[in-house]
Amino acid sequence: MLLDGLYQEIILDHYKHPHGRGLRDPFGGEAHHVNPTCGDEVTVRVAVDGVNISDISYEGLGCSISQASASVLHELVTGKDAATVAGIQEAFVQLMQGRGQVEPDEDVLGDGVAFAGVAKFPARVKCALLPWMAFQDAAARAGVDVGASPEVKA
């Protein structure tokens, strides 16, 4: 597979200049996820304020795709209410599992649309989803339901 679309400028930018990186207190829920195939890891913390996700903080070791994805997650979700966030989460998962057939909606996904190309690389889809899965767990632990866990296959 050629790299067209995988390493979009937006992704490289988020990787080199991550938004909101670092673990912050206080938080309502935390989750640590590992991709057993490649060893990538991420810890995500979620702080909740009423129905809003007031902060997402994270720390992790991983490739440009998983790191940029965490940065985009932070940017997209911080400050939004649970229902909106569930919609974003669902749209992102659908995009990633669409094998390149899903047309992303920039109004919902913002910089996340840059990940459209990743969906064509089955081995990298897990990388992109890693922070989102951890976020979902952390949110659940903070008492916020942002939708069902997508099935992610090796």
Partner: protein, 409 residues
């Protein structure tokens, strides 16, 4: 599609062969089947164009190999109507699949003295010895269903055999000696009553009949690639996902882990948990192609063809003086595997004289000594059929047996 044996035979290169100056008459498919061009071709293509290790690489070859391997898993899952491909664990053969359940399932069941495992007297050694060893390890007791004179499972003492102490019942779906196809519905119902798990050894049924794991209502089945047009070196354990997920690992090593430190290890979910090390990749892909081939023909059609051949063979052999058939004497509830004795001639000699005429049958105990013992013989001669078997081949067998009686007359 009508069932066209001639067209099917054209797909099997080996069927052109001569043996001892005679056209090959291959009547040993219950032992191992022949493989169609389509299966060999897919494996060749994989090895020549797409070979890479699975689940470990981001590179193109690795990604291609992984998607072919996982694609095969999905095909096999739908072939037996599994709920998800994650219920399909690749092993090297049926025997490993049964041992996997005996080790990991046995550990999960936490067996103790007083607990019971139930098998039958018509099992292949691969569905006896793993349970004997499990009983030795745990102190549990092995019990078994008997076999009736006409080669059926004797269920007369079902309620006694399968009781509150029973933790697992493992029964052959189709006997590799008698050809009997066991309707296990009563046994499954009774096992459910007492809370026992049920495993079916489908080594002889999945290749020859439509098998639907959900309709059977069992917990595990085992089958093996080389008996169903696939390559050697690949077998399958199907298990209910919740059960697999509750079981500890068996073989340990690469690819079955979540994380490893020198101090301790956590394990991946099924099926990866049970596939330690580099799996038989090309072989799984070959088995996927075999399943495609069988699906295209239709398992109902395969079964019907074998029923026809079996009816023909039962009559032809039944008419021969001095030939005694073991197992059901009509095609009802039996498959195309016929064991018999020829009066006064040892199976080895029968097999040898048939081979001289190009007719390949198996002789011996067929890895089922207790079944042979049940019928008072140390060995039998066995002819077994498949989708490529013709009536002419049954005729060749009959002529061959005439020759046997001439030599030993």
């Amino acid at each position: 599609m009508t069932f066209d044996v001639a067209r099917i035979r054209a797909d099997f290169p080996i069927l052109d062969r001569e043996i001892n100056g005679h056209p090959l008459v291959y009547l040993d498919s219950a032992n191992t089947s022949q493989k169609p061009r389509q299966v060999l071709e897919i494996m060749r293509q994989h090895n020549e164009r797409h070979n890479g290790n699975v689940s470990r690489s981001v590179h193109t070859l690795g990604t291609e190999a992984t998607s072919a391997y996982e694609g095969a898993r999905a095909k096999i899952a739908s072939f037996v109507n599994a709920a998800t491909p994650d219920e399909i664990v690749f092993t090297k053969n049926s025997t490993e699949a049964i041992n996997l359940v005996a080790y990991a399932g046995g550990q999960h069941l936490n067996l103790k003295p007083g607990d019971e495992i139930v098998v039958s007297e018509m099992e292949h050694h691969s569905n006896i010895v793993p349970w004997q060893l499990l009983c030795e390890r745990t102190g549990a007791t092995l019990r078994w269903f008997g076999v009736t004179d006409d080669g059926r499972l004797d269920e007369s003492n079902l309620d006694d055999l399968v009781n509150e102490r029973t933790k697992l019942v493992s029964i052959v779906h189709m006997s590799n000696v008698l050809g009997t196809i066991n309707d296990v519905s009563r046994i499954v119902a009774r096992a459910r009553q007492v809370g026992a798990l049920v495993m079916l050894d489908c080594s002889q049924s999945v290749p020859h009949l439509p098998v639907d794991v959900r309709a059977l209502g069992v917990d595990f089945i085992a089958f093996t690639g080389h008996k169903m047009l696939g390559p050697t070196g690949i077998g399958v354990l199907w298990g209910k996902y919740e059960l697999l997920a509750a079981m500890p690992p068996f073989l340990a090593g690469g690819s079955m882990i979540e994380t490893v430190t020198m101090q301790g290890t956590t394990y991946a979910p099924p099926p990866a948990r049970f596939e330690a090390g580099t799996p038989p990749i090309a072989e799984a892909i070959g088995l996927g192609a075999a399943v495609d081939y069988l699906t295209a023909i239709g398992m109902e059609n395969v079964h019907q063809h074998e029923q026809d051949i079996t009816a023909y063979a039962l009559k032809a052999l039944g008419d021969m003086p001095g030939v005694r058939i073991f197992g059901p004497s009509t095609p009802d509830g039996r498959g195309g595997t016929l064991s018999f004795a020829v009066d006064g001639v040892h199976p080895h000699d029968v097999g040898q004289i048939l081979d001289a005429q190009g007719v390949e049958v198996r002789v011996g105990h067929h890895c089922a000594k207790p079944t042979c013992a049940r019928f008072g013989v140390p060995a039998t001669t066995r002819a077994s059929f498949y989708l490529y078997t013709t009536q002419d081949e049954v005729d060749a067998l009959v002529q061959g047996l005439d020759q046997v009686r001439k030599v030993f007359g």
